[in-house]
């Protein structure tokens, strides 16, 4: 295993985790619709219990995504998290509130009352996807940081990475294209939430509302997503000159990346087709419940293709808008060959992990959620 292969392998693993995370944001998307879809208390309880049985997967994928990034590309971890401080902190605050809100909301003595905890779920359902989308958009559009490893020899200020302004990540919102991807991810999460409810809950009236809501969310999603993708393919990108490792701006860089890696075009197109198939069939066929699996798989493939496009083919995956040469590439930000190789052996466990997740998921979802089903286990939210 060469060093270059390992760098690319780990970018693939991180991208796959990122793609799975976007799919699992159906929990957040579903929660953002809690008061819109749930008209009665019973319906809201069903919605909360539906996402409540899966929130741990989203949370764990987020943590593992962070851990894998830390282990494989530590310079990204230190530069982005330490620099775009507010952007990440707000995301984390919202996830903390979400984590307790399921368990606490219907318990006696919960201090803040049921409505507050549900508000936290909605808040996380909006803030989480929008900010995560905006954070990922900076991979394409750049962020304001400087990296200078020579600083380590400065006894008084030995900090390698620093942010170029006092906004610490909130400056991502100064670029409208970051906001556009944020909204695309938000509407995608809602779309996935609807499809998940359709698959997981048996309540005619509620599911009918979910199907109508699908149209409401699918239209803005497509507009924002297509705008972002078209603009990305047409804009200049951050290229790395392999011989010198110098970063330069290159016209149509991301379009060229797709052209240079046809497998990504296939992944992307199959993914988009899967998303559309799941959505359209769920809208037109009132008894169809499996849309989440087509759309979910499509989301994973599409996001994977985009993330591979931004990291592969001599591209700076985390460009600096302040100092072009500070931009992070797979080569200049990764862990040592020994660590990547060791971690690669560990990653052999991933298929086993996925296998038991699928097995347990199927066992839990064997019976769809109904008002009667929720009471049987003695544990419901």
């Amino acid at each position: 295993m060469t060093y270059t292969f390992l760098q690319h392998y780990w970018w693939f693993v991180v991208s796959l985790l990122g793609a799975l995370l976007v799919f699992l944001l159906f929990v957040q998307g579903g929660n953002s619709l809690l008061f819109r879809l749930g008209r009665t208390e019973e319906e809201r309880v069903m919605l909360v219990n539906s996402t409540g049985r899966k929130w741990e997967f989203t949370f764990t994928t987020l943590v593992t995504f962070g851990g894998a990034f830390f282990a494989s590309f530590p310079l990204f971890y230190s530069t982005s998290f330490g620099g775009a401080y507010w952007l990440w902190m707000i995301i984390l605050f919202s996830f903390v509130l979400q984590a307790v809100s399921y368990e606490f909301q219907s318990k006696l003595g919960n201090l803040l009352g049921k409505r507050t905890y549900r508000f936290f779920l909605v808040l996380n359902g909006i803030i989480g996807p929008v900010l995560l989308g905006a954070a990922v958009a900076t991979f394409f559009n750049g962020a304001n940081f400087v990296v200078d490893k020579a600083n380590m020899a400065d006894e008084w200020m030995p900090v390698i990475s620093s942010w170029a302004n006092g906004w610490h990540g909130l400056d991502a919102f100064a670029d409208v294209w970051n906001i556009i991807l944020g909204f695309a991810v938000f509407f995608l999460a809602r779309l996935l939430g609807n499809l998940y409810f359709i698959n997981n809950i048996r309540s005619e009236e509620l599911i009918g509302r979910c199907r109508r809501q699908l149209i409401t969310d699918a239209v803005p999603f497509l507009l924002f997503f297509l705008a972002f993708v078209i603009r990305t393919l047409l804009k200049e990108g951050f290229a790395v000159i392999p011989e010198t490792q110098e970063i330069v701006m290159q016209p149509f860089k991301y379009a060229q990346n797709f052209a240079a890696m046809p497998v990504l075009i296939v992944l992307f197109l199959v993914g988009v087709a899967g998303v559309l198939y799941g959505v359209v069939k769920s809208i037109v066929n009132p008894v169809y419940t499996r849309g989440i699996w087509f759309t979910g798989t499509g989301v994973v493939l599409t996001v994977l293709a985009l993330l591979l496009c931004v990291g592969y083919n001599d591209t700076a995956y985390y460009p600096s808008a302040t100092d072009l040469q500070s931009s992070l590439t797979l080569a200049n930000s990764c862990s040592s060959q020994f660590t990547l190789k060791t971690m690669t052996y560990v990653s052999i466990l991933v298929p086993f992990v996925l296998a038991y997740i699928v097995y347990a998921w199927r066992a839990i979802d064997k019976k769809p959620i109904t008002p009667e089903e929720m009471g049987k286990d003695g544990h419901h939210y």
Binding site: E56, W88, A99, V159, V346, K366, H379
Partner: protein
């Protein structure tokens, strides 16, 4: 103008991490301890087929669930704070430190997240044995998680298995097994996890005793106490043994921490172990630290001044000498990078030799004055005594509870029931005192001898960190109050609810 790190930024960054860690550690020990007790109870249910055990385990699961969610939430923040507030650390040692965190996610978190869903929602959906396996796997997942995070923490106390690479300006892993199975990591894992079982056992005994006091749920309470007391006594004895081994390792690898734990300014041979005040056990500190009654234990001043003989026969350097060699290492790093830019191979070689000769003291290059090397002696001294004192108390407590359970007289002594309730906060106090000893004792180092906290932080404005500190403080405090409120209501309702 030369940029310098604002000292209060370091303090606020430390405060924020300490705050998050303290809150996180309020929930984790109960998760680890209750998981084992629940596993035993459900095993009894499957083996005996008695519904009594199902009802019992479901009650403890309810409390487990309330506690678990907030533990997960605070844990998320801790992981990401390495990046947000300790970004220089994340680059400087991320090559080694990141791996255990990633493995924790892949191996442990997913196991925990998957099977906890089956544990809570699977009673009517999966078979008895699958459900039992899920309950155990939830606990095993949490324990695996503890293993990897403690590997990471142990590496900060005792860095092994790495080499410094001046090209990348960071430490790089060269021996994964040395990192994953260092003797310090093994002992820390056993000590921390088993001490968490003590918290879980004390919690179950305390809550059950409340039912006995109220003359409610007698069979449920007595049976729960029996299981918990067995777990508690076993855990306390192992914790005592691993504590002794850990202290011995501290003496070998972090002598300043040991000296501060004992408030020992002037060391010597035949050093006594201070209990409190003037009460001391002759020669005991020498024995515990060196396994020899006549062994030499350096005090704080000895460590700063150096000159005493180390176990390997060499002479200990003074703090000044170490700082000088640290500065040589940092200078050599700078010279190496300049030579590399100039493509001067001879200068690179010379700088590399100077760096290699002084790399063991690299972190001392950022130490402004020797007093920075002394951790908070008062806090360490008392935290250590609180931890050990309660450790001894819990041996007696669990033994007494088990004895009375065997004699079927648990119901008889109301004072014991009150004592059991009061013991719950004592177990938490002891557990936190242990972490204070481990973490405050490591100061000023983020990584022992390699990177002090002032060279590990993110370059942020003090006001930014202050703001997030207070947001965390308010958020965690409100959630803790809510959690306690929910717990108390659930306990009051009892297993019948």
């Amino acid at each position: 103008m030369l940029a310098t790190i604002d000292l209060s930024l370091i303090e606020w960054s430390r405060a924020q991490f300490a705050l998050t860690a303290i809150y996180h550690w309020l929930f984790v020990p109960l998760t680890l301890g209750l998981a084992v007790i629940m596993g035993i109870m459900e095993t009894l249910y499957v083996l005996t087929g008695k519904d009594f055990w199902k009802r019992t385990v479901k009650f403890w699961m309810k409390l487990f669930g309330i506690n678990f969610a907030i533990g997960v939430a605070t844990g998320l923040i801790l992981e990401f704070q390495f990046g947000t507030n300790w970004s220089n650390y994340s680059w400087f040692v991320g090559d080694i430190f990141g791996a255990p965190l990633a493995i924790e996610g892949i191996v442990a978190f997913f196991m925990e997240a998957t099977f906890i869903a089956v544990m809570f929602f699977g009673w009517e959906k999966v078979g008895k044995r699958f459900h039992l396996a899920s309950t155990w796997l939830t606990g095993i997942g949490a324990t695996f998680s503890a293993w990897w995070i403690l590997v990471a923490n142990s590496w900060m106390q005792y860095p092994v298995g790495m080499e410094f690479n001046p090209e990348t300006v960071r430490n790089e892993m060269v021996d994964f097994m040395a990192v994953a199975f260092s003797p310090v990591a093994v002992m820390k894992f056993l000590h921390t996890v088993l001490s968490s079982w003590i918290v879980g056992a004390t919690f179950v005994i305390g809550v059950s005793s409340w039912y006995l006091l109220r003359k409610r749920e007698k069979e449920f309470a007595v049976s729960s106490i029996k299981v918990a007391a067995c777990v508690g006594l076993f855990a306390t004895l192992v914790t005592m043994g691993t504590g002794d081994k850990s202290a011995y390792q501290v003496a070998q690898t972090q002598p300043m921490k040991l000296a501060a734990m004992e408030a020992l300014y002037e060391g010597g041979t035949q050093a006594p172990l201070t209990v409190v005040g003037d009460l001391a056990i002759p020669k005991m500190l020498s024995f515990l630290a060196t396994r020899d009654m006549n062994g030499f234990v350096p005090g704080i001043n000895d460590i700063l001044e150096g000159g005493y003989a180390l176990p390997d026969g060499t002479k200990a350097l003074s703090a000044e000498e170490k700082a000088e060699r640290g500065r040589l290492a940092v200078e050599a790093l700078s010279a190496f990078r300049q030579a590399k830019e100039a493509d001067d191979a001879a200068a690179m070689q010379a700088a590399r030799e100077q760096l290699d000769a002084n790399i063991a003291y690299f972190g001392y290059g950022y130490i402004g004055h020797p007093e920075m090397l002394i951790p908070n002696v008062w806090l360490l001294f008392w935290a250590f005594r609180v931890m050990v004192g309660f450790g001894v108390y819990f041996i007696a407590f669990f033994a007494l509870v088990l004895f009375l359970a065997w004699k079927k007289e648990l119901n008889r002594f109301r004072w014991l029931q009150w004592l059991a309730i009061i013991s719950i906060p004592c177990a938490y106090l002891a557990s936190h005192a242990g972490w204070i000893v481990a973490e405050v004792g490591r100061q000023p180092w983020a990584i022992q001898d390699m990177l002090p906290v002032n060279a590990a932080i993110s370059r942020l404005e003090v006001g930014t960190v202050q703001t997030t500190f207070f947001i965390f403080l308010v958020m965690f405090t409100v959630l803790l109050i809510a959690e306690i409120g929910i717990m108390l209501k659930a306990i009051r309702k009892g297993p019948e609810a």
